[in-house]
């Protein structure tokens, strides 16, 4: 059986203009307890790769440039 993709709107957004991942920052990726953030090969910026978020906020709190915003996941908003 093939595996399909199910679209979801992810709760965590990164302001690419503020993100300095291209200068080597990986703070949000490092601290996330659920390990759901990654640096994109395409844009060189952080993004939410997996919609598996505890809306706990270390990513936002620890980002040195204030690039991360944690929203409440849609299903429980």
């Amino acid at each position: 059986m093939p595996i399909a993709h199910m679209p979801t709107t992810v709760p965590v957004v990164v302001d690419e203009a503020k993100c300095i991942a291209d200068k080597g920052c990986t703070v949000c990726v490092d601290v996330c307890p659920l390990d759901v953030l990654r640096i994109s090969d395409l844009t060189g910026k952080a993004y939410m790769k997996y919609d598996e978020c505890w809306y706990c906020m270390p990513c936002e709190t620890d980002c040195p440039t204030g690039a991360v915003t944690v929203n409440i996941p849609y299903l429980l908003r």
């Binding site: 390990d35 809306y55 706990c56 906020m57 709190t61 299903l75």
Partner: protein, 578 residues
Amino acid sequence: MDEIREGSTEVSCDVLVIGGGTAGPMAAYRAKRRNPNMRVILLEKANVKRSGAIAMGMDGLNNAVIPGYATPEQYTKEITIANDGICDQAPVYKYASRCFEMIQELDRFGIKFQKTENGDFDVKKVHHLGSYVLPMPNGDTVKKALYRQLRREKVLISNRYMATRLLTGRNGQVAGAIAVNTRDAEFLVIRAKTVILCAGAAGRLGLPQSGYLWGTYENAANSGDGYAMAYHAGAGLANLECYQINPLIKDYNGPACAYVAGPFGGYTTNNDGNRFIECDYWSGQMIQEFYNELQSGKGPVFLKLDHLHSDTIGEIEAVLHNVERPSRGRFHQNRGTDYRERMIEMHISEIGFCSGHSASGVFVDEFARTTVTGLYAAGDMASVPHNYMLGAFTNGAVAGEHAAGFAEEIDLPDYDIGEVEREKTRVLAPTKRDDGVPPNQIEYKTRRLVNDYLQPPKVTAKMNLGRMRLAEVRDDLENRMVARDAHELMRSLEAASIIDCADMAATASLFRTESRWGFYHHRVDFPEKNNDEWFCHSILRKQDGRMTVEKRPVADYIVPIEESERSAYDRQRIRKSA
């Protein structure tokens, strides 16, 4: 990142701590303090800097036994009663006697505790009988403070390694653990003289009503791996039928929290704005009343703050929107809920295992020893009831010190290489298939079945059916689950822990043919408490490859409880006065 590599490394140490949330860092720190020459490894699935229940700090201690406010005897009595008498008092009493020293240690680490103008600790009453709640004004800094100490003591920290199984030595004693890197699936085989399990609650057991797998009360990284590992190593697990079920903000699924708001004058009400419970302290008996109210037509249930002065509410907001679960403020904002104007809709959570709040954990004695030699457990996954954050710290310290002492006396145990090979095969199986069921579907179905069949009110026929359905999912998990990268592999290993916990929940619940702990073990076919037959622990373990449960007597009380005091927690409902 995330591509699967198939390497394997072996390391060895004196003390291995699994889980770097709350109990784990303290266990590792105290092991090192006791003997600085020891090799102490702290293994963490996430990153110790921001992991566990306290990832964003905590607003206060829920169970501080502070000289002048409470005595270890009073506390031990309260917890024994709150836990319906099923309580080995020795570990509770030890905690109560040592926790003040832990508060002083945390104070030295830079964590502040609220004082009154006279310089006394500002302890609040939330429990039914005594006063044990102490606010922490800079509670957001807990993790940082702990991390500094770990660095100073040169604890070896391995982040992003998920432990999957314990290794056992020749005589059945613990010999280490196997872990897999969550970003490249490389194995780490850690030989150890002693192992301390601090992997937290089984927080992804029931499915939250929102349907979002990650919208749990517990830190969602806590998938019950510690319970599963202890089980497969042959350790006894106590009273798993005494589930954790918490009163939470509906949908948000985090605490509101009556412990913070209570001392300011907030309280729980029904839809008429009337109180219906005497006491907001979380217990099975309190949750039973909460459930009754929801069923009665007088629901929904709310946390009421709107009668308080705006400045008071400001103070409450400053706590609730900044530490512990700081996204609470955003949740309310989205819905236009201002505490000043509207009550907060509350609900009861899905089920989990957690001794931090109830009593379902790996059986331990007053030295945090499990029933397996060399294996310790502390925090939410160990059986000391209602032990919360300060219990995780204090019992983590107890475990670390004792494990270090034991490690000084023994040689590194041998392990069976065949065990490692079998585990590698089990772990990697989902990566060897190019087709099948992804772990998120396995997990969703397991947890949905937990809700449908295992959550209270518990019905025998339903639980038996649930076991059959779960066996079908297990067959899929073992033979058809597919993981395409290292991240999915972590999720598939978690799914295996979750289904193990689901089986344990069903088996333990079916064993105890009575009702106890209020809603936590409300069995419809056996609605009464039966002290003649069931005043005992249930101990679940793996014997000859099978799940078994047996009774274990409750140890003789150290602090006697009068007959007339025993039912204090049964009287939760506000009696109608004329």
